[in-house]
């Protein structure tokens, strides 16, 4: 394929000095391989000795030599080591525990990746070298991930320096951090080796400015999306103590999850969440379909436009405003209470809570919900209706034979996605407002995280609940999306 922009550029560029990049690209294989290998080696060395640099107060000369073994030994489950015992060649002294074996295999994999990398740089692997290298790196990543989880679950990752001391700094950046960095690098190395070829390198240079454009988004994603995900995973495995900070707190394995799932309250809350979600799902699917079909079939375009304008308005109000409007009707002196001559405060009444949620949800979103179905309905060829009418099909028959089948894909898609969102679909904003008088019986997962996790500072428990919710939710959405794609060919992405 001819690239017009390169053509346009090359037409008016005078021959200029060759850049380093161009020199590098045209240099012989051996030199390139050598540079690549040296870089890879340096990277691995830095990785292996990384824990060493966390000894801020130790002299570097002392530390550098023992980094690798200190890492191994600490991982092997040993705590306090005296520094004299650690020398090169003391590999045999290490207790061959399960953890040590795991770590050794991990290092072997790294080594394999390094050798493959060198071979590939020299072009010794043939045409498939990229694939081989990438899969080796990804295998290394997967292996590290597995070992990491196993080590954390079995609590073999000691948060100690080689003297057996638990200094805060060491706890912060020690083996866990090294492990995570190594995993990340393996992933990046794998991705790069998969992506690097002549065309891509050319494109990277061509799109320099585009990467600059992508930078703000990338930074925001890493800080406000990916980092919280990592925190969510780590916090759920930790006993969070404020004084120790996030990384200083001790790993406790799956204790938080155990605490949650033996708590009868939690099961009730999950049940509550699913109940409200299912009810809201029904409310958010069936009434809008009926309304949309009626709107579409009513004819009288101008009146329809006016009605549409009105019924979309409530969607643009916040739940606070909806609560305020509901309050106008059901406050102790309000219209409805006086109408039914009851002296009950409906908002503080537990049995009225869920109906209240559903009614307000219906009021706010039903009109807006029709918009999707209206779009599907207007796509139906009107001649279909006419032909059916000529053939003697009545309005009801046409409704079931033409109108409904035409919006079936949309209905299936929205239903399936709502099922995927069961754990999150309870609508916490609404519940926090309408349930503020009856906090206890109105709890769902999200509000529990706010009240118990955030306000009572039980971050570990809160993160564990969120992690559970998010993880199961993700699997459900992926599954449901696949189903929707298979059944009606509509999918989220």
């Amino acid at each position: 394929m001819i690239d017009s922009s390169t053509l346009a550029l090359s037409a008016n560029t005078a021959p200029k000095k060759r850049t380093f990049r161009e020199k590098f690209d045209s240099s012989p294989n051996i030199l390139r391989g050598g540079i690549a290998a040296a870089c890879a080696l340096a990277a691995i060395l830095i990785l292996v000795f990384a824990p060493i640099f966390t000894f801020g107060d130790e002299s570097v000369s002392l530390s550098v030599g023992i980094g690798f073994f200190a890492l191994l030994k600490a991982l092997a489950g040993g705590g306090a080591y005296e520094i004299e015992h650690v020398e090169f060649g003391t590999l045999s002294v290490i207790v061959p525990s399960v953890a040590a074996t795991l770590v050794l295999i991990t290092f072997a994999l790294w080594l394999a990746c390094l050798i493959l990398g060198v071979l590939s740089a020299f072009g010794k692997l043939g045409g498939k070298d990229r694939i081989v290298l990438a899969s080796a790196n990804f295998a290394a990543f997967a292996w590290q991930a597995i070992t990491f989880v196993v080590l954390i679950a079995s609590k073999s990752l000691k948060a100690e320096n080689i003297y057996g001391e638990q200094t805060a700094f060491y706890r912060t950046f020690s083996l866990t951090a090294t492990y995570l960095v190594c995993m990340l690098l393996s992933l990046i190395a794998g991705g790069c080796s998969l992506g690097v070829n002549g065309k891509n390198v050319k494109n990277v240079r061509r799109y320099k400015l585009m990467y600059l454009f992508l930078l703000p988004a990338a930074v925001l994603v890493v800080i406000y999306n990916l980092y919280p995900m990592l925190l969510s995973f780590c916090l759920s495995l930790k006993d969070y103590v404020i004084a120790d900070g996030i990384w200083g707190s001790a790993w406790v394995g799956f204790k938080n999850f155990k605490t949650i799932f033996v708590d009868p309250d939690m099961l009730r809350i999950i049940g509550n969440t699913i109940l409200i979600s299912v009810l809201r799902m029904v409310i958010s699917i069936i009434p809008p379909i009926i309304l949309a079909v009626m709107l579409f079939d009513m004819g009288a375009r101008k009146v329809r436009k006016g009605i549409q304008t009105i019924i979309y308005i409530p969607h643009f109000f916040s739940w606070v405003v909806v609560y305020a409007i509901a309050y106008a009707f059901v406050n102790p002196d309000g219209l409805l209470n006086n109408l039914f001559s009851g002296d009950v405060h409906i908002l503080a009444n537990e049995s009225a809570f869920i109906p209240m949620l559903l009614i307000t949800d219906l009021w706010k979103e039903c009109g807006w919900g029709t918009i999707l179905y209206m779009a599907a309905l207007t796509n139906v060829d009107p001649s279909l209706h006419e032909a059916a009418a000529i053939d003697g099909a009545g309005p009801v028959k046409r409704l079931f034979k033409i109108t409904l089948p035409s919006i079936t894909p949309t209905i299936v898609f929205t239903t399936v996605m709502a099922v995927g969102n069961l754990l999150k679909g309870a609508g916490y904003e609404q519940i926090m407002l309408f349930g503020s008088d009856i906090m206890k019986s109105a709890q769902v997962i999200d509000t529990w995280v706010v009240w118990r996790g955030l306000q009572r500072l039980q971050y570990g428990l809160g993160a564990a609940v969120s992690f559970f919710q998010s993880f199961i939710g993700m699997l459900m959405v992926i599954g449901c999306n696949a189903l929707s794609k298979r059944w009606v060919g509509v999918s989220l992405y």
Binding site: S5, A8, F213, P216, A217, A218, L220, Y224, N225, Y227, P228, M229, L230, L231, L235, I246, L291, M294, A300, V303, I307, I310, I311, I313, P314, F316, F317, S318, V320, V321, Y323, A324, I325, Y327, A328, N331, L335, N338, W368, G369, L372, A375, E386, A389, G394, P395, M417, S436, D446, L454, Y459, G462, A463, S466, S470, F471, M474, V477, L492, Y493
Partner: protein, 295 residues
């Protein structure tokens, strides 16, 4: 189209249902407005049954709220500030990212898109997000309401998809004419995606204006309360802070009851949405999939 009797009857039923529903949507709004103009005497006499516009309307509640205290105006300003900052900066970040990702042969594009999908499917949850915002030092600043939501994977995906649909030939022609990368964005891409941009803008504005939950989590300082949160606090039975409450204003021998004050405040908080509603209306169709899928 041939119309039989049954057709007309069916259409009539449909129209009736639709009109009744529209009235159900409209009446509570009007009722709120009625109450906000109601005098205390009329409120007490009718025992809450104000079905229509009050006979002796009074604007005292509005005068009181807007005139005698700076609290509401200040929270109105904070609301405007966060909406403006969030929308403008968010648009910049997301449009730039979408522009970059709409290049078909951008190396690394696949990885970035996959990460974006991951952020849609899996969220860190409230507490890790809170800790992140805390450690980036945004707590109790207006930026806590703006920065974390700037990047929106949904918006980038939608914009990207739209930009990918813009004919390549247009850009190539511009390149031949010597238009730069930035120039292409301003002269070709942005004008052509005006509709989808407006739809995204609309949802961002509405989202920011209506959001009170993040204020309740990240903002402790009453000076930084947004209008929605201020309304919420006024309806709260359990809110510990009294500075924001309107009750102490009503205690000073005003002619309206507390419910009238609350309703007037509510009306003030939705007026901006109602003002921009007609401008948004023509973008609803573009917004269909954005709003419906995003939920």
């Amino acid at each position: 189209m041939i119309k039989g009797k049954s057709d007309k009857a069916y259409q009539g039923v449909c129209a009736a249902v639709a009109i009744i529903f529209a009235l159900i949507c409209l009446y509570p709004l009007l009722y709120t407005v009625f109450l906000s103009f109601c005098t205390e005497k009329e409120w007490l006499n009718s025992s809450g049954a104000i079905w229509y516009f009050p006979k002796h309307p009074t604007g005292a509640a509005y005068v009181k709220i807007l005139g005698s205290t700076g609290v509401v105006l200040r929270s109105l300003w904070v609301s405007l500030e966060r909406t403006l900052l969030g929308t403008v900066l968010g648009l910049v970040v997301n449009v730039l990212a979408a522009y970059a990702l709409s290049r078909k042969d951008l190396p690394g594009k696949g990885v970035f898109v996959k990460v974006m999908l991951l952020t849609i499917l899996f969220s860190g949850g409230l507490i890790p997000t809170y800790l992140t915002i805390q450690s980036t030092g945004l707590i109790d600043t207006v930026w806590a309401l703006v920065v974390p939501g700037l990047f929106s994977a949904w918006n980038v995906l939608i914009l990207k998809q739209f930009m990918e649909g813009i004919p390549r030939e247009l850009e190539e022609a511009a390149e031949v004419d010597g238009v730069s990368t930035v120039g292409k964005l301003f002269y070709i891409i942005l004008p052509m995606s005006k509709a989808v941009l407006s739809a995204i803008c609309m949802f961002t504005i509405v989202g920011h204006w209506n959001n009170w939950f993040d204020v309740s989590i990240y903002i402790k300082d009453p000076k930084l309360w947004t209008l929605q949160y201020y309304v919420k606090v006024n309806f709260d039975n359990t809110a510990g802070l009294d500075q924001g409450k309107l009750d102490f204003l009503i205690g000073q021998g005003s002619a309206v009851s507390s419910i009238t004050m609350k309703m007037a405040l509510t009306v003030i908080s939705v007026v901006p949405m109602l003002i921009i509603y007609p401008f948004f209306q023509k973008y609803f169709t573009q917004g269909v999939y954005i709003g419906a899928v995003k939920g």
